[in-house]
Symmetry: C2
Subunit: 391 residues, 2 copies
């Protein structure tokens, strides 16, 4: 394996089958490499979210330049519009959106629960009314896999049912057990049609550690290329999320990638890496960027605050990100005050670079056996300069 993994260049797909191996560990923290048909993903990895075939407001070139090895596509959105069959006819999601690097697709289950009206969950699957045109759509485990096959993602996710927290114990258990039966059906549907690509199972069980452990054991029995912790970042307190991760991650197979879905803040990422998580996705860098919040080495900066109106300093003169380095805070502040979309685009780029740099720093620290120091220094820098450089 290449000691300095790089992404496949445009149009030069590796087409290697999925594999994963660790390159270093430091306590429970791990660094590694996932090989996928469209290139290598360095872990711990942060996946920007390309909900509808685009990272909101950001050109693919900037996403790639930020250092993202892999992005996430939302099956729910893409199956409804423009449609999975249409994307397949246009060459699959990589060709359609012209992102030649790895793509993970979720199963659509999470958005069905959060976005669609009149949803009905049965043993067969979930039927829901499209939020776009009101049509009734059925999503079964088999259809979720078929859709992800049509999209051609490098990593597919099982269909699961995700309940919001807090929830009744009986409801958490019911959804967890249903998700396991769907996991098995997804595995069968996937095996017949997806050479080289990967399928991840999703651990459910809410905030109940007993259920979580039952879910983990059953998923391992079915056998997946990787394991995700789902059902978090759905309304629970941060300490609940951290507790579930701390208790669940050690039960997952060492030799397979571990993905914490929908998380989170920079601090959340570091805390989860410390527990042995390898992969993350979150809309936070782009959503917060559009709303004027920049993540920097000096902590978050709300660029809309009046104190930045006359500040000639860039967000971070030492940043690898041109948008963080080249434009003054005064200019960025002005763009937001004037309602210029370029402001949201630039701060989204700043944040995507920051998240990728945080993951690169994390990987280097783990390789050097200094992850705890890296966390301490990074965290200290966030708070130490907060009073002078931010808010």
């Amino acid at each position: 394996m290449c000691p300095h993994p790089v992404n496949a260049p445009d149009d030069a797909v590796t087409q290697k089958p999925f594999s994963f191996h660790l390159t270093a560990t430091d306590g429970a923290a791990r660094s590694g490499e996932m090989v996928t048909p469209h290139g290598v993903v360095r872990t711990p990895a942060f996946m920007p979210v390309g909900t509808q075939g685009a990272i909101k407001g950001v050109h693919h070139d900037d996403v790639h330049a930020s250092g993202a090895d892999i992005i996430l596509g939302n099956t729910y959105h893409l199956m409804l519009r423009p449609g999975a069959e249409r994307i397949a006819a246009l060459g699959g999601l990589h060709a359609f959106m012209r992102w030649p690097f790895p793509i993970l697709t979720d199963s659509g289950g999470f958005q069905v629960m959060s976005l669609s009206a009149l949803r009905k969950v049965t043993e067969a699957g979930v039927t829901f009314r499209s939020h776009i045109d009101g049509a009734m759509v059925e999503l079964t485990p088999e259809r979720a896999i078929a859709v992800q096959n049509l999209l051609g993602s490098d990593i597919a996710m099982q269909l699961d049912e995700c309940v919001s927290l807090p929830a009744e114990s009986t409801e958490i258990e019911r959804a967890m057990r249903l998700s396991l039966r769907w996991a098995e059906r997804c595995k069968r549907a996937f095996e017949s049609a997806s050479p080289g690509r990967a399928l991840f199972g999703i651990v459910q069980g809410g905030d109940d550690q007993g259920f979580r452990e039952q879910s983990v054991r059953a998923l391992i029995d079915i056998g997946f290329h990787g394991y995700a912790i789902g059902g978090l970042a759905v309304g629970e307190a941060p300490e609940v999320m951290r507790k579930v991760v701390a208790e669940t991650a050690p039960a997952l197979p060492t030799e397979r990638p571990r993905y914490l879905m929908g998380v989170g803040t920079p601090a959340d990422l570091l805390a989860a890496v410390a527990r042995g998580i390898d992969m993350f996705d979150c809309v936070m860098p782009t959503r917060n960027g559009r709303h004027g919040l920049a993540f920097t080495r000096f902590g978050p900066i709300n660029i809309k605050n009046a104190q930045h109106a006359d500040d000639p300093r860039p967000l971070d003169a030492e940043s690898r990100c041109p948008a963080a380095r080249d434009f003054s805070r005064a200019y960025l502040h002005h763009l937001f005050k004037a309602g210029e979309a370029l402001g949201g685009t630039l701060l989204s780029i700043v944040n995507l670079f920051y998240y990728q740099d945080l993951m690169a720093g994390t990987r280097a620290a783990i390789a050097a056996g200094g992850f705890a120091d890296y966390v301490a220094q990074t965290t200290e820098q966030w708070s130490a300069k907060r009073d002078t450089a931010s808010q």
Copy 2:
């Protein structure tokens, strides 16, 4: 003079005083070079509009890559927000927005007429209520020049009063004569404080050729670095605009640049170049791009039309513009249908490249003595392929 004019590199300002010379003529059409403190502008030139210190939705790097030598900044918007004094304190408009190449600023007069409420025009100037915070603001000829000096634009425009067409003859004449008195005051205010930079006068007179000619003669007597035809693209029929240009341009001094303000479509640009116009500005490339209309060699393409939903072809496989070449029409269609802002950004870039390529083709054709053929071929290609490739 350099035979292959290039823009000044970042931070390497030429600081040469303003000058203009023709490099070729072909009938009434002219090509030339304007030297400005921030670099050379090749004419005929199209200036993208950076109303509030940004070309809407487009990163400066893409504006520069499109081939734009110069952009336009709107004095009205910038004086109200973030304020001319603030921009000056931050190093001027070039440094503030980080566009190190030439900038032309309008005087603010046009937007006072079109955007502000409770405006009152007197001999002294115009007083208006800001559309942002409701404050009463006074814009005199002297203040218009002071603001443009604070912004530090390479080319400043006189304050004028622009009337919408159709209008009463007495109203057109009153505004034209007031604009001439303001032109004289602008000239005086400008001379004391703007070494190396240029000031353009603006011909008014509505659709009355007698008034237009009086305006031209009086402006020439005052003496400006360049002359603009204003008061068009304000509601008149296209043939009125073309008639005024055809009759006014020949009266302007041969050795000075001629700027047709606020125009227009690709066809408008070619028609005006044929009459001897050297400079244009218009929001059309970016505004139409945001609304899904792409300008291409094959005529305009409305990417939102359903026929593009499954079309794997790019907008123009031969284009110099990556966005026109690399993304399928199906993908661009999807971005608009899905409400992804990236769609508007990509089509704005496509259009900015198209306008610049049209100007580059125009300059090359004039230099080769084949401008009429170029217009015929370009126009034929727009209409010949319209049935198959567009709408």
